[in-house]
């Protein structure tokens, strides 16, 4: 996972390198490792859930533990697996796609990762400190106030820390796209993955603060005697639901849009055709994001908001199907008339299309407010959001990892194992979740520790559990593939897929300064343009000169560690307040240090660059 020189340098220095790095490519690797770790953890929790539900009236795990597991499964998968894995891809690819040497805020980029990391660890400490949160990932008040263990406090503070990190990551990518594009890289020449990541970042910026506030209110109520959600004191429990879903609905688009972007890169590459209807794809992305903020109350149709509000939100939600449909058809017509190569990323993309279409279909069904009175909080909903999040986001992430693996590591995952992974995961997925639609319609609510015998629910639950094992085996094969590939360490060229966009114009893995000379972009699919009209190499936009690079820094780690420590103090209070003191002092001290100490970076000199060859892929 690192260059040979560093391997020779020994474990300690590699560790230090990663703890202090501000290089977006290394931060991508950190996000990838962190995200995969939590993905496995969340997957194990999913297996516990499915084993518990393998048969009626099962006593495999206790009710209390079951609630903890289901809460942590949702929370982990959304905040600690899907989000960081998307950030991994964004970090690895986005700056390269727009021809930037780095992101706009390398320091903040690193801070974002370490906040996510410590937030995730903080949340999971709860397992060993009296019990994990047990109120669902939505943590509806007042159940979240009734919960007796410190689990919900871990949830609120852990997500708060991780959420700050996400917010910073979002701002970083917005500014990177706005300010750091190479000459000629106009907005309408940006690859679609960059576009969708950009829009997702905007969503992060405007959605996460609502969660921040919600979590603060929850923390105040639980730890500091606040009354936001206490009906006895005039509080209103519905406020939490609104705040949570004002964040929560855009969040699902934050998860899915970058996945759309990934497929919009893979499908043209392996069809050897430019993306069909590029501008309408961009427009559809923006429209989805915009509408995404208008529909949060469709998670609350049964709350009793009244028929007027329900109708408005129902129709607004249905409207989202239109731009999403545009995307599906544009992908299909990108393949139309193409020369389709069935590589593993392409096969995953082909698996995604029907799966996501089904998820979209059930989404429209759920949007029908009255009908939702039957679907709401049943396994129908569970099936729906797994079809969009696993069928969309997770497949997108895996397709993206496999597709950009050579760019990130300079090696190629074994294609045969990739296909095995995909088919096991894909078939397992459909077995697991397709029948859950019917379980819901047959009267099985979600978050049920037990279902009873003689209610006609046995068979589909059993099939669902069997499918889950298929997904688990598929994932294991993927991990084996990763380990084997990295052990072998066979290097590949900079452009092993014969791809179209700028990131494939430089070596794999790219040098730490990415582009020796700023590239000149001459059209959409910059590399393809050069392949067709030029000599296959990107023209430089500037003469070779010194390159300005940011310094490495340990400060982001320290800032995040401080908040991690402070979290315990705030939670346990009493004598533990001292921890809060130490923690906040560490954090603010580190911030002050950062603010006072000049950090102007350094330069890679022209002479050094000249020694290193021509910097194109080869």
């Amino acid at each position: 996972m690192s260059t040979t020189a560093e391997n020779k340098a020994g474990f300690g220095s590699v560790l230090w390198d990663y703890l202090t790095t501000v290089d977006h490519k290394k931060i991508a690797i950190l996000y990838l490792i962190g995200g995969l770790f939590f993905f496995i953890l969340g997957g194990l929790q999913a297996m516990l859930i499915r084993i518990q539900l393998i048969a009626p009236d099962n006593e495999f795990i206790s009710a209390q533990f079951y609630n903890e597991v289901l809460t942590m499964h949702g929370t982990t998968m959304i905040f600690l697996a899907a989000m960081p894995l998307i950030f991994a891809l964004m970090n690895a690819v986005l700056p390269l796609q727009i021809g930037a040497r780095d992101v706009a805020f390398p320091f903040i980029n690193s801070l974002g990762f370490w906040l996510f990391f410590f937030g995730g660890i903080f949340l999971n400490v709860s397992w060993f400190a009296g019990g994990a949160p047990d109120v669902g990932w939505t943590a509806y008040a007042p159940l979240s106030l009734f919960s007796e263990s410190h689990g919900v406090d871990y949830y609120a503070i852990g997500l708060q820390i991780a959420g700050f990190g996400t917010l910073m990551g979002g701002i970083n990518f917005i500014v990177t796209v706005v300010n750091m594009r190479a000459p000629g890289m106009t907005y309408m020449r940006m690859p679609l993955f960059t576009w969708t990541s950009f829009i997702a970042s905007v969503l992060i910026l405007f959605a996460f603060p609502a969660l921040t506030v919600g979590l603060f209110l929850l923390t105040f109520d639980r730890l500091f005697g606040g009354n936001f959600f206490d009906p006895e004191m005039g509080g209103n429990v519905i406020i939490w639901e609104h705040l949570f879903w004002i964040f929560g609905h855009p969040e699902v688009y934050i998860l899915i849009l970058p996945a759309f972007g990934v497929f919009s890169e893979i499908i043209p590459t392996f069809s050897k055709k430019r993306l069909f209807g590029y501008s309408s794809m961009v427009f559809a992305t923006i429209l989805i994001a915009f509408l995404g903020f208008m529909v949060w109350a469709h998670h609350m149709f049964t709350v009793g908001l009244g028929p007027i509000a329900n109708s408005i939100f129902a129709v607004a939600t249905m409207a989202i199907a239109v731009p999403t449909g545009i995307k599906i058809f544009n992908w299909l017509f990108t393949m139309w008339g193409g020369n389709i190569r069935l590589t593993s990323p392409m096969v995953i993309a082909l698996g995604f299309v029907p799966t996501f279409t089904i998820g979209g279909m059930t989404g429209v069904m759920l949007a029908s407010a009255a009908a939702d009175f039957q679907y709401h909080d049943t396994y129908f909903v569970v099936a729906h959001f797994h079809y969009v999040i696993v069928g969309g986001t997770v497949l997108g992430i895996f397709a993206g990892i496999i597709y950009w693996w050579p760019k990130m590591f300079g090696t190629m995952l074994n294609e045969k194992l990739n296909h095995w992974f995909f088919w096991l995961f894909f078939i397992g997925f459909h077995l697991t979740f397709f029948f859950q639609h019917f379980l819901g319609l047959m009267g099985m609510p979600r978050r049920y520790w037990k279902f009873l015998p003689d209610q006609g629910l046995d068979l589909f639950n059993l099939i669902s559990t069997i499918g889950a094992f298929g997904m688990a085996i598929g994932t294991i094969i993927f991990l084996v593939n990763v380990v084997m590939t990295q052990m072998k360490g066979e290097k590949v060229s900079g452009d092993p897929w014969d791809a179209r966009t700028l990131e494939w114009a430089i070596p794999s893995p790219p040098p730490f300064y990415n582009f020796k000379q700023e590239p000149l972009v001459r059209g959409l699919d910059a590399l393809w343009v050069e392949k067709m009209q030029g000599n296959g190499k990107i023209q430089p936009a500037e003469p070779l000169g010194d390159i300005h690079m940011p310094n490495r820094t340990f400060v982001p780690f320290v800032i995040s560690l401080g908040l991690f420590i402070a979290g315990f103090g705030v939670m346990y209070q009493g004598a533990m307040w001292i921890l809060a003191g130490i923690g906040f002092a560490t954090t603010f001290g580190a911030m002050l240090y950062r603010s006072l100490k000049d950090d102007i970076g350094y330069h890679v000199h022209k002479e050094e660059l000249e020694e290193e060859g021509d910097g194109s892929n080869g």
Partner: protein, 206 residues
């Protein structure tokens, strides 16, 4: 090149946006403020939902004193103006005057913060209006307190910038820092205008 950014004197017209780093900071901070708008909007929404949930505690009408709050408003708005002067002098490359006006801004900020603390103490001691008194009190202290915390953070930020750069003057490296600190200060003022209207005026009138 790298060292150039630390040289003071002879700066271009908009020193805060003269370098790529400066432009990034400038733009990133605007986006950050966009996020802050959502943060305060959520807090305002919560406050509006709970402003009549006073249970047995006092209502806003009973405790708010518009005189004090009006004074606070004047002070904070004035501090916004003084920070504009500071930025004006920054663009004229007059470091001393910039420091002076920033100093006045900080003093006004402290005055505001002091009055706010006095206000809170007054509510708690004279009306028994604590954080846990009712849903209204919790929402009130959270909204106004969040703003107060922003003010306090802004003060520490500006002070540390002033102290750090007191000797070396203005350069391309610190100009963006001063500039975004003043942006932040304006933002805080704008939020306060909304608090003054939504919390105090609306609370007093109806």
């Amino acid at each position: 090149m790298a060292e150039d950014v630390l040289k003071s004197g002879n700066l271009p017209e908009n020193p805060e946006r003269a370098t790529l780093e400066g432009r990034n900071k400038f733009m990133g901070f605007w986006f950050f403020l966009g996020g802050e708008v959502v943060l305060f909007a959520s807090l305002f929404g919560t406050y509006l939902a709970l402003r009549n949930s006073t249970v047995d505690g006092p209502t806003g009408q009973e405790i708010f004193g518009l005189g004090l709050v009006f004074l606070m408003t004047v002070i904070l708005l004035t501090s916004s103006l003084t920070s504009v002067y500071a930025m004006y002098h920054m663009k004229n490359n007059d470091f001393k005057k910039m420091q002076l006006w920033l100093g006045i801004t900080v003093l006004l900020g402290f005055a505001f913060l002091g009055l706010e603390i006095y206000e809170f103490v007054h509510y708690v001691n004279d009306y028994g209006f604590g954080f846990s008194t009712s849903a209204f009190s919790t929402a009130f202290y959270t909204l106004v307190g969040f703003h107060g915390a922003h003010v306090a953070f802004g003060l520490l930020w500006i002070i540390s910038l002033m102290i750090r750069n007191r000797k070396r003057g203005l350069n391309l490296y610190n100009a963006p820092k001063f500039y975004i600190a003043s942006l932040y200060w304006h933002f805080i003022d704008v939020v306060w205008v909304f608090i003054f209207t939504v919390v105090y005026l609306m609370g007093k009138v109806g």
